[in-house]
Structure formats: C-alpha cells, structure tokens
Assembly symmetry: C2
Amino acid sequence: MLDNFFNPKSIAVIGASRTPGKVGYDILKNTIQYGYQGAVYPINPGASEILGVKTYPSILDVPGKIDLAVVVVPSKNVMEVIEQCGAKKIDSAIIITAGFKESGIEGAKLENDLVKKAKEAGVRFIGPNCLGVIDTHSGINASFAAGMPAKGSIGFFSQSGALCLAVLDRALPEDIGFSKFISMGNKADISDTDIMLALSEDDNTKVILGYIEGVNDGRRFMEVASQVSKKKPLIILKSGITSSGAKAASSHTGALAGREAAFDSAFKQSGVIRAHTIGELFNYAIAFANQPLPNGPNVAIVTNSGGPGILAADACDKSDLQLVLLHKETTDELRTFLPPVASFYNPIDIMGDAGAERYEKALYTVLQDEKIQGVMVLLTPTAVVDVEATAKAVVNIANLVDKPILTSFMGKKSVESGSKILMKYNIPNYSYPEEAVSALNAMYRYHVWINRPEKTYPHFDGLKDKVTQIFEEVKEENRERLSESEVHEVLNTYGFRQPKSLIARTSEEAVAASKGIGYPVVMKIISPQIIHKSDIGGVRINLNKKKDVENAFFDITTHVKNIMPTANIYGVMIQEMIPGGKEVIVGITKDAQFGHMIMFGLGGIYVEVLKDISFRITPLSQEDAHEMIRETKTFPLLRGVRGEAETDIEAIEKSLLILSQLALDFPQIIEADINPLLVKKRGEGVVAIDARFTIGGD
Amino acid sequence: MLDNFFNPKSIAVIGASRTPGKVGYDILKNTIQYGYQGAVYPINPGASEILGVKTYPSILDVPGKIDLAVVVVPSKNVMEVIEQCGAKKIDSAIIITAGFKESGIEGAKLENDLVKKAKEAGVRFIGPNCLGVIDTHSGINASFAAGMPAKGSIGFFSQSGALCLAVLDRALPEDIGFSKFISMGNKADISDTDIMLALSEDDNTKVILGYIEGVNDGRRFMEVASQVSKKKPLIILKSGITSSGAKAASSHTGALAGREAAFDSAFKQSGVIRAHTIGELFNYAIAFANQPLPNGPNVAIVTNSGGPGILAADACDKSDLQLVLLHKETTDELRTFLPPVASFYNPIDIMGDAGAERYEKALYTVLQDEKIQGVMVLLTPTAVVDVEATAKAVVNIANLVDKPILTSFMGKKSVESGSKILMKYNIPNYSYPEEAVSALNAMYRYHVWINRPEKTYPHFDGLKDKVTQIFEEVKEENRERLSESEVHEVLNTYGFRQPKSLIARTSEEAVAASKGIGYPVVMKIISPQIIHKSDIGGVRINLNKKKDVENAFFDITTHVKNIMPTANIYGVMIQEMIPGGKEVIVGITKDAQFGHMIMFGLGGIYVEVLKDISFRITPLSQEDAHEMIRETKTFPLLRGVRGEAETDIEAIEKSLLILSQLALDFPQIIEADINPLLVKKRGEGVVAIDARFTIGGD
C-alpha cells in the first residue's frame, strides 16, 4: 500500500531550489544524500542543474516515468502542479507547501479545490503543510528534516511536523531505529487510517507510533485501528483532550479535537495503546520495538540498591503488573551466590557491591523461574559496579530467553556507555525505574489485548418497522422530541419492560386509572414542553388512595400552569409504582466524529455529582457491555453491599446492547436516555421508568 | 547547625586505606581533592602516609583538634572508634560503615548499642550505612561518591545512598549546582528533621530536596517541615507508599513505611512539595533553584510549533495553572511583528520559521502583559531556528523580568548546546513540555502555600475532667471499648447533640420509654460484644406505635440471642428518631508514626464503596477542617444538589475540631467514630446518632 510513497523508482522534487537553507534545497539534498538508488529529477524552470543533478523546467519535460512527486512550490502554484502530475500519470505526491486550511478561510477554500483537483487528476497525496516522508529501508528522505534516523522497526506518523522533528532529533544520538517517518500535515487526502494500514502491511515496521490531534472519520479510524492493533502494537498520543488543548488544536491545523470520552472509548475498543505524554510515547516505542511481550503480569526486579527498588515496587503496585514471590528453588539458588544481607524477595536487592558477574548470575537465575514473565534490572552507579560489563551481561542473558527485559541504569555520566550498549543490543534503558515499569505494563496490557477472544456482537432483529413509522411521524410534524406515548411505544417495541400506565385528563380519570392499575401509583405531568418533570414539581410518587390521587392531580396541574403558563398540558400519566430496585441511567449520545455512543451510570447523584459514567461507541459487543458497567466506581453497589441482594446486572447488559441495536437501526437518534432504568434483583430484570428521545435528520 | 559536619576545620578519616577502589581510599581521596582547606588526618595503624598525607595509628595520636570524624572501619570496630572520639572531644561523626540495622537482628542490636555509646561519648553522628556528606561551598567531599557536583543552591538529603549517586551522576554533565549532599543511611542519630533544620539555616541552600522511605517521629517531622517550608521550598519524594513498596522498604533499611494517607496528610499540612517520581524530584529542583516564583496561576506559552503547544495546553488544564487570554494591547503589539498566520491566543504560536529574534520579541512582549505571571517557551528544532541564539535570547529577556521562565527545547542532538546555555544561565530546560508545566505548577502551589494566612487552631477547654474519669474506669475494668452509655457521656461532655434516648430492659419499659421520648422512635440492641448492630438485625427504625415497639423488642432480642448466644444483652436503647438530614462519618484514628488523625467522609456506601474519605493529622486547624470536607468527591452533596437545601457544613467543621481537641486531650484513644453524624439544614446543626470508642494505654 502507498508503495510509491515509500519505495518509488523515481522522484521529482517540484520547486527544487539552488539556495541552501530553502526548503526546496533541503529536500532535494535529502533525497539524494542517504543512499536512495532511484532517479531524482529536480524541477526548476530557472536552473539547469542543482547539487550536480540535471534539472528540468517542468515534470512534463522529464523523459522517464516519475513515481513520486514532492511539491514545494508556493501554494498558488500547487494546483497547476497537480494537474501536470495527472498529465504525467504520477499517482503519488507529497505536498510540503503550507498556506492551506491551517492559514484561514482562504486557505481552506484552496485546500478544498486541491482535493477536488487531485481526485480528477488521479493523484493521491500526503499533506499539504507537512514535513515530508522518510523510509530508512529504501533510503528515501523526502523531507526537510535535518538528519536521517537509523534503520529500525518503528513506524511513526504525526499530525505535527514539529513532533517529527523532536522525535527524530531525540532518536539520532541514541541510534534508535525507525522504519518510516510520515508527517501527515493537514491530512487533506491521505489520512491516519491510510497510513496505519500501510504501516501494518509493511514488513519493516514492527511497532506503529502516532501523534494525532483529531481524526476525520472516527468510525473508519476505529475499524482500521482494531484491525491493525491485532497485528502490531499501535501506540498513539492524542492531544487536545482538555478545553485549552482543544482550543489550541482547532487553531492549529483546524483539526476537530473531539470529545475526550469518545476518543477514550475508541482507543479502548480498538486496542490502541494510549500514550499520555511525549515521554511515554517514546518510552513505549523502544520497549515494543526491542523486547518480546510478557506472557503475563508476573515480574521481578533485580537491583543493586534499595531505594530505586522500592520506587519500582511502588510503580508496579499502581500498574497491572504483579511483583510475585520467587519459587523456593529460585531463592535457594540465589542464596548460593548472593551475600546473606541481600534481599531474596522481590525486588531482589543484590547489594551495592554487586559487580557484572553477580548481576549476570542473579538475572539468569530469576529468569529461570517459570513464574517470572518479565524482569526489570535497576542499576545505580556505585563505585564498584562496572557499568559496561553489566550492560553486556544483561545483553548476554537476554539472548538466552524469550522474556522481556527492561533496564534502568540510573544517572547520566557514569551510565552513558552502558546505556549505549543496552540500546544497541535491543535492551530498552530508561532514566528512571518508574519509566521501565510503565513501559512493561503497556506491553503486558497489549499481551492481554491480542489474546482476548473475538468480541461477540449480538443482534436484535425485526424490531425496526414500527419505530420507523413513529420517527417518520415525528419528522413530518417537525418535532425533535418524542412524546411520552411515542417513547413508550419505542421502548415497548424494543422489548423494554415499562410500568403499567394510563393517561388521565381529569381528576376522575386519574382515580379510575389508579384503580385499574392498582395502588400505589406514580403521577407525572405530560407536556411536550416539559422535559425535566420533577424539577418543576410535575411528579408525585407513592400515592396510596383515591384522595391522594385527586389532590396530586390538582396540585400538579395548577403548579405546572403557574410555573409554565405556555406549556401544553396533555394530561397526567398514572403509572404503576415499582417497589425496590436500584436506579441506573442508560442512554445514547452522538459524537461529532465517532457517531453514536452508549452511556451507562448509576442514577441520580452518582451521575450528577460524581460524574461516574462510562461510554462505548456503537456497535456494542457483549464484552463492551460487560466492561462498561464494571468500570464505573459505583459498580459494587449493583453487586450489593452490606448484605443486599445482587441486582440483575445481566439485564442491564442486555439493555445496553438493545440500545446499541436501536442506535444502529436509527441513525437519526440524536440523544436518548432511560432515566431511571430500575434494576431489580438478579433474575428479575429491569424496568424503564422514564425516558426521553430526541431525533434529527439522518 | 551541624556546623562541624559541613564546615569542619579538620577531618579524620578513620579507616583510611592505601588500596584504590576501597571505600577507605575513595573517601580520603575525596576529602583532599576538591579544594578543602582544612587539615585531613588519615587514620590507619599500618601506614605512615596515604596519598601523600601523614597517617596516624589512631585519632588519639593526632596532635591537633579534630572537628569531624569519618568512620570507615569494620562494624565490629565502630564502637571503639566512637569511644575514642569521645575521648578526643570530637562531637561530629559520619559513620559510613554498613552492617547495622539493615543487615538483620544482630545488626539492629549493634546499632542500639552504638546509639547509646555515642550519647555517652557526646558524639552526634550521621549514618551508619551511608554514602557520606558533600558541601560544595566549603569544598568538603566526605563521601565515596564519584565526582563533586557544581556549587549551587540545592541541598539534597536522602535515605538512599543509591539515589544520591544517581542524582549526582545525572547532575554532573548538566552542571546542575548543589550546596550540600547528605546521605543519611540508617538515621540512627541525626534524622531527616535535623538535616532539614540545618539546610533551612544554611545561607547557601535555596531549595531543600529529600528522598525518604519513612520517618522516625512523625510529629516532629511535621513540626519542622512546617517551619522549614515557610522559609524555603521543601521537595520530598517518599517511597514505600504501596504495599509492595512498603514491604520492600521495610526489608531495606528497616524503615517503617507508614500509611500513605498519614504521609499524604502530613505533607499537605506542613507545606511539603511532594514529588511522585525521581524525574519529578529533579524537575522541580531545577525550577525552584533557578527561577522566581510566579505571583499567580496565569501563564502563557510561546512556541514555534502547534503540536507541542497543544500538549502543553492539555497539561496546563490538568494543573492549577491558567492559560489566560492576553490583553488586547499585547495581542496588538504581537501582530506588528508576527506573521499573520501566527496564533495570537494562548499558546502563542510564532510559527516554525521563527528565528531567535522573533522569539525574543514575542517573549518580551508577552512578559510585559501584567496578566501573565509566568511563561513557558517551547522550541522544536526546525531547520531555520538557531537554537543557541534563541537560548541566549531567552536568557537576555529573563534577566529583565521577575517572572518565572521555563523552557522545553525538544529533541536532543540539535538542542543540546542551547540547553547547556539555558541551564548555565539559570533557565530550567526540560525534554518535554509536560515537564515544564508540572514544574511551574509546583512553583505556583508553593506560592499559594507561603502566602496563605497563618492557620488558626481553636481550643475547646474545660471539657476534659469528666471524660478522664470515664476512661479511667474503662481502663480499670480492663476494657478497650466504651459502653453505649459511656460513649453517650463522652459525646455529651464535648458538646455533641445526641438523640434523646432511654434504656429499656423489658418490653414494657420500651413502650414507656417510647412514650416519654415521643414517636417515632429507633430501637437498638445494647451489648458490649456487638459493634456492628445493624449487621445482625439489632436495629429497627421508624417505629410509630406501641405494638411496633413491642414487636421490635421481641424480634431484636430473640434474633440477637439466636445469632450470638454468648453476647451479654444489657437491654435495648430507645432513641428519638431524627427526621431528614444527611449522614456523614467523622472519626479519630491513630497512625503509628503521626499519631491521631481526624477522618471525614459521607456516610454509608460513599465511604465503604467509593473510599471517599479525607484525613488530617491533629491538631486540626480551622483551615484543615474546612479543606478536608471540601476535598471529598461527594462534597457537592452537602452543598445540596437538585435544589436541596444546603446542609450545616460549619457544624461538621466544628465537630471535626472538637474531635481533634478530644484526641489531644486523650492520647489513649485508639479509635473513635461517630457514624452516622446526621447533618441537618444550614443553621440547624448536627446530631451524633451512633458512635464507638476504643481506648488503650497512653
């Protein structure tokens, strides 16, 4: 995929310049100086050769075939160049030129035209407003970055050219190998998902690393990410997650930052490993690129000093990793060569006077323990330790086993040479033990992800027809909100149990209805203008006799008329009062980028005060429904505390799955919630007490 | 304070060695090679000179006065050396030697003896089992660390010698200046608090940095830390906060790791700036050492690239810092020289083609804005930016203003020279923007700390006598738990309102009591063996008439007799039923190191399921009481949600303060809680519904 971008047989640099320091000069120089074997054609009408390479006035003058066009001309000339690309049958272009969407309204218009023009011309392009593309394996550097990273297995794509530069600059002195660097710029044509797919199919890429500020098509992103993450670790740093960040992002490349909750769900559901800082992005990348995944959470720490061992143990406890006790045989073996004052528990403290040999033997012994699925080696630069010899010892042992080994040789001056050896031989080394723990934890979580069973997506068929009709009526009447009875009908059709209810327009009808339903009853005002009924005194509960119902009818109607004189009052709903149960909220919301999301939370104050809500993007799998209930903090309340009976959690799961089906069936749903959904004892199901639906165009 | 440790006129190295690589050699070498001007006396009975310095068989043979003894002899000889120190009137010693408490039971015994011996001999000592002490200003390096840090203003003390080495090694190549390095080892004599006091009085020390695994005397630690933190920033990394970490810590130097909640409260209450990782410790130190504090939370970000700006904005939003809009005048001024596509909002993106001059003008302009109280400058190594010139520009501007400036020149290779310039001229530079934000946020929080008004500690006098008598009786009876009526008496004496109540031993008495108190009533079993009354069916509420009371009496007593046949049933408490209100829990617990703590949380499931509890160590200030209620997540429930009335939060505050007084009055309290404390509407106070007290020896 995208072969002509990464492995072209010939490149034209359109806008090549003779002036060092100009982007058109830097790019041309980069394309020829790093061992690229194909033909390079500088295009510049005013020059006959640049940097010793024959120059052409236009691509149309180039005699041979051109696989890739790198465009550095001013923005006003880009359109013409793309047209020429079409004429010359060039199907791939990198548009470096800035001055498009990121520069304002005029630029956005230009970008739209560009997209159209490129489509007509049959040209796919990366950019505009990007740094370019690097492929270390084919030796291509079609970018204006300074330097070429070492060959390696990390494929990096970034919405920010600056981050490309920073990562590249950081990688150079440490010789960290990359397969590809792709600066995506404004992503007007080729998107994150195209790049992710290309990298997942690229044999030279083992780990995919990305920085994004937003995505264009959330659904497609999830689809591709799910696919890719099963094959290779996909590590992404997403910025713009807070309001200041989002504001900054939208003024940056015009990216739609998107709601944090939606991204969080999308990443979770599609197996994206999320980095939260640039440091984490980097730390994770070198771990995944260089070490095998752990087969489980059980790790050991080997250290020559207590303090860092304790800090690492603290970090493990806050992660999913487990510091387990070693087998007795392992401890016995360690005792044969470690000093008696050493610590034989985990962390294993081999003491400050440990040399390389002791490190080697201890590490080897610990790795033989079948309980141990990964090891972190910590070193502080004591006077006696030979840092280089210890690094070599770690490398030797690592070659013998298929378990991940990460190191933290702490300090800087004394450990630099050791760190170089470690990194050269694929042992990721970190400045601080906490970073090693965090990276190994990410690897363990990825191990869990790729080994989880396929998700199952239940379907609920044949429910759609009647609701289609209701939604059409609502639309015809130019309404957005469904009436009480419409909501009732929709929920009923989709199999939600609801309290018995009747509508009464007079006090007498209310009494009759109550009698029919059976006391106690609940009464609620019905008016299309009133959404939050209880906030304005439109709800009465636990009414036990005729007199109560009569009084309530009078109170509710006069009260509402006083407060909202313009509201149309259709009547009062008389509802069966359902005893017992716990209140939860389930619902559907719509995100601008990811579409429908299903929401879950414990009712009332838990949602309002504690914001203890979970989300998943539709379609919901059985596993999503299971997890999203359990990830709320208040989940134990559903399990039952203080000897209470467990509630019907399975019935909530099913409700969430049905809502997902409903959302799939009706794209026009803007918002819906069942609040409260009353959850009864295990086996007794749920009852939708009240609900709201808002629909729009589809 | 501790002058002879840091500024001695003469040093004896007892156990000096001729063999390079031995600790006794390294220390001697360190004492003479870094410009120390005083006399150095190597002590070694088998040598006449080492490293060109005349050697003595024993300190008693040294002709002159000795201010400081550095002890490197084997552990079995340390006792004799300390005795000689006494004889020679040496009052200060650093005991490097290991093999004490950290090595097991035998070592612990030896350490106890050492403490006793030193006291007799009039010798104060640092260690044992430590790395030694460095003072860059007096040129003393009485340690076996490799290298001497640059002169500077950071004073570092550490319970882990390894961490000293790692920090030193990291500081050396970056030329980060330290005033003192103190490796405390086992802290058998001189403790954290002694060191903190000494550093706070040391004119060369501007910032105090510490690593601890535990403290010996929590109370004293808080007292000293509160005092010190008002004078100088006190930044501490505390490890052993999780169960694995604590286990590792206790097997390390035998430090009592202590409960995380207690340390967290102690740090909060005494103004300690808490670092959570080694990286943070370092990052905070260089910020505080080099830049003035911000006068408020309003910061600006100046960047040459969007992505890093967005990441920094995200980090600001998660901190206490505020990314405010600039004054219109500032924006107008920026427009005069920035390109039109630049972003004039905050973060201020001066674009990828920015050179040093544009950085200088933009930074200067932004700093002139009086709204802005601190600035972060971000740089990515673009082709056009001159990193060194930009670093110099930042330094120039920084000299003109008294606002903090932190930088993140991202990358490594291209920015290294710039970073060197920045660090040299006191601009802390960070690898990633998130680190700069975190450091500036710590500075802002410290600004808030030192500017907060003095805390007020209310006293409640004259309540003690009656309770003293009760506690004495309980002790005489060898009980730990107070009976229902004793609890009632204690709470009554300390002014807690309680429901009216009477004790009934028969059904008839129960009915009479209910009549006297007035229906509805609550009934509760009274038995010294039963603590959680409701868990075993020992509580009935909302009893409205005679028949109910009779039935309840029968039910409760037979039920309890069936479940706990051995329990002594004293009778049943008949209690006034208090309508309305919200339930909270307040209580006293005792921490092994910090003593009494006051606890607060919303009652029932909030505490049990959500663990939403806050703590403060006694004595509680008015401010502590105010804050601890507000820092729980469920606090909004007390304020009232959905139009509920606000509860009497002031009355809760007073309850917490009274409990603090009670804890101060009675050290023998092991645990006490009022659960629930019913909080009524604002102005209507609180009622202690139920409570438990456990006391022990004092």
